[in-house]
Amino acid sequence: MSELVIEMDDVSYIYPDGYMALQKVDLKIAKGERLAILGPNGAGKSTLLMLLNGLYKPSEGKVSVLGIPTSNENLSTIRRDVGLVFQDPDDQLFSPTLWEDVCYGPLNMGLSEEEARRRALDALSAVGMMGYEEKPPHHLSAGEKKRAAIATVLAMEPKVLVLDEPTANLDPKGRFELMSLLHGLRNSRDMTFIVATHDVNFVPMVADRVYVLNKGRVIAEGSLREIFSSQRIMSEASLEPPIIAQLFQLLAAGNNALVKSLPLTVGEALSELSLYYRSSGNKSLQLTKNC
C-alpha cells in the first residue's frame, strides 16, 4: 500500500451526553484514493469526519493524518491538510461576501494577502464561480452554495478533501454539476477524496473503495462491487445497492450469462449490455453507442 494519508486505530467517540457515536473504528486511507464512507442516517459518518480534521478528539484510540497524530499542537497543520466541506453550506459560508469567505481559510493560515488572493481566485475558477466574488452567500442557489463551500476549502489547498453528504438538498442539475466538479478536481489536483454519504447512486461516481458504517461500527470494507453485491452488508446497513445494480441483479437472476461484472452506473450498464448483445450476435443495441 502506498503512503497512508489517514489512519484511524481503534477509535471510539463518546459525546458529552454519553452517546457512543463511534466504536472501535479502524480505517486506513492511502494517498490519492477515492473513498466513500457509506451508512444510514445516524451511523456516525459526520462524527467520523469531524475526527479527521481534529474538530473532535477521539475518546479512545488514535487518529493520524499523514503520520501526525491529531493532538492540539498539530491542529494547524492538520486543518491545513484536511479540508472539510460541511453538509449544510449555510454553516460553512458565514462571511458577508463569497470573496471574504474564500479568503478566510488562507488568511487564517497566515498567508499574505497576495497569496490568499491567488488561491481564492484559483479555487473560485476551479468550482466555476468566477464573477460571484462580491455576492452575499444568501443570494446563491443551493448548487452554487455547495460549490462555493467547496471553493472555501480548496483555497486552503488541502491534501485531503472531505465532503459530508455532498448531494444533500441538491436538485438534479446541482447534483450533476457537483459530480462533474469532483471529476474535474480528481483529474487536475493531487488530492485524496473522502465522501460520506447514504446516496448509493452517487457513490460509484466519486469513489473506488467503500467503508460501510452502521451504528458507529465499520461493518464492511472493500471495492464498490464487493460491497454492493453483498446482500448481507446492504441489509445490515439498511441500504440498497444502486438502482442500476438492483436492475441487473434481477435480470441476472433469470439469465446468468447477462452479467459478467455487476454494473453500478448507467455507463457501465451500457457497456455490459452491448458486450452481451455482441456476444449473442444481436445488433439491435448498436443505437446505444450514441448515448
Binding site: P96, L107, N108, P137
Partner: protein
C-alpha cells in the same frame, strides 16, 4: 400575511439594488461615506433652527439624484421610519409647550391648546430626525452591507461587535425563514381555532425550538470556522483603496457641515 411582511422586510434589508448601480455615492469609498454621514448626522443633531436642516435636506436630495436613487422611492423609504422614531416624542410637543396659543381642541374641561412655539418645536424635531434618517438610509442604500462591515473593521471597531453584525446579517433571514416554515407547518395542522392561551403556548414552543435550532446552528458554524483555522480573530481581505474622488467628497462633506453649523451659530439664516 406574515409571508408578505417577511418578503417586504427581506426586500428592504437584502436587496442591494441601488448599491450595485454606478451613481455618485456608490463610487465613494465606504470609509469616507461612513465618516461623512456620521459628521453630517452630528451637524443635524447640533442645530435647532429650520434653515440649516433645510440646507442639509436639499443636499441629501441632490446627492440622492446623483446616486441614481429615485426621489419618490427615497422619500417614501425615509418617511416610513419617521412615525416610529419621531412620532412618539413630537406628537405631544405642540400641546405641552408654553407659548402663544394657535388653536384649541376638545370641549368642557378637556381643552388642549396648541401653541405656536410647540408646533415649531415639533416641526423642528421631526425635521431633524428626518434628516438623520435620510442620511443613514442614503448610506445604506448606496453601500453594500459587506463594505460597511469592512469599513468598520478598518476603523478598528471592536472585533466582537463587527463579527456580530456580520454574522447577524448573514443568518437573520435563515432564521426568519425557518420561523416562517415552522409557523406554516403549525398552521397546516391547526384545524380548530386555538384559544388565546393555546396560541401563546404554541408560540412559546416555537420560540424555544427556534432558540435550540439557533444554538445548534451556531455550534455548526463555529465548527466550520474552526475547521478552516479560526482561533479567535477573523482576518478579512482588505480590498479598499482611497482615490482622489474620495478626498474631494470628504472635503465637500466637511464644507457642508461647516456651512450648516455656521448658519446655525452665526445666525446667518435669520429664523
Amino acid at each position: 400575511m406574515i409571508g408578505s411582511f417577511l418578503k417586504a422586510f427581506q426586500e428592504i434589508v437584502y436587496v442591494e439594488r441601488y448599491a450595485a448601480s454606478d451613481g455618485l455615492l456608490q463610487r465613494i469609498d465606504p470609509r469616507v461615506k461612513l465618516c461623512s454621514v456620521a459628521a453630517l448626522i452630528f451637524s443635524a443633531v447640533a442645530v435647532r433652527t429650520l434653515i440649516p436642516l433645510a440646507i442639509l435636506l436639499v443636499a441629501v436630495a441632490a446627492v440622492c439624484i446623483a446616486s441614481k436613487i429615485p426621489l419618490k422611492f427615497f422619500f417614501l423609504r425615509t418617511t416610513i421610519f419617521i412615525p416610529i422614531f419621531a412620532g412618539v416624542i413630537a406628537l405631544p410637543l405642540p400641546f405641552i409647550t408654553l407659548g402663544t396659543p394657535l388653536a384649541t381642541v376638545g370641549y368642557g374641561d378637556f381643552i388642549l391648546t396648541v401653541t405656536r412655539e410647540g408646533a415649531y418645536r415639533a416641526g423642528q424635531f421631526t425635521l431633524r430626525v428626518w434628516t438623520c434618517v435620510a442620511l443613514s438610509i442614503l448610506l445604506m442604500l448606496t453601500t453594500r452591507f459587506s463594505k460597511l462591515i469592512q469599513a468598520m473593521e478598518n476603523f478598528r471597531f471592536p472585533k466582537v461587535f463587527v463579527t456580530m453584525m456580520a454574522v447577524t446579517y448573514r443568518f437573520i433571514f435563515l432564521f426568519i425563514n425557518e420561523t416562517f416554515r415552522m409557523a406554516l407547518a403549525k398552521e397546516s395542522r391547526t384545524v380548530t381555532r386555538l384559544r388565546w392561551k393555546g396560541n401563546v403556548k404554541s408560540l412559546a414552543n416555537m420560540i424555544a425550538t427556534l432558540f435550540i435550532r439557533a444554538h445548534e446552528r451556531g455550534e455548526r458554524v463555529y465548527l466550520a470556522m474552526v475547521a478552516r483555522g479560526y482561533a479567535g480573530t477573523i482576518r478579512s481581505p482588505n480590498t479598499m483603496k482611497y482615490v482622489q474622488r474620495d478626498w474631494v467628497f470628504a472635503c465637500l462633506s466637511i464644507l457642508l457641515c461647516l456651512t450648516v453649523l455656521s448658519v446655525e451659530y452665526l445666525h446667518l439664516g435669520g429664523l
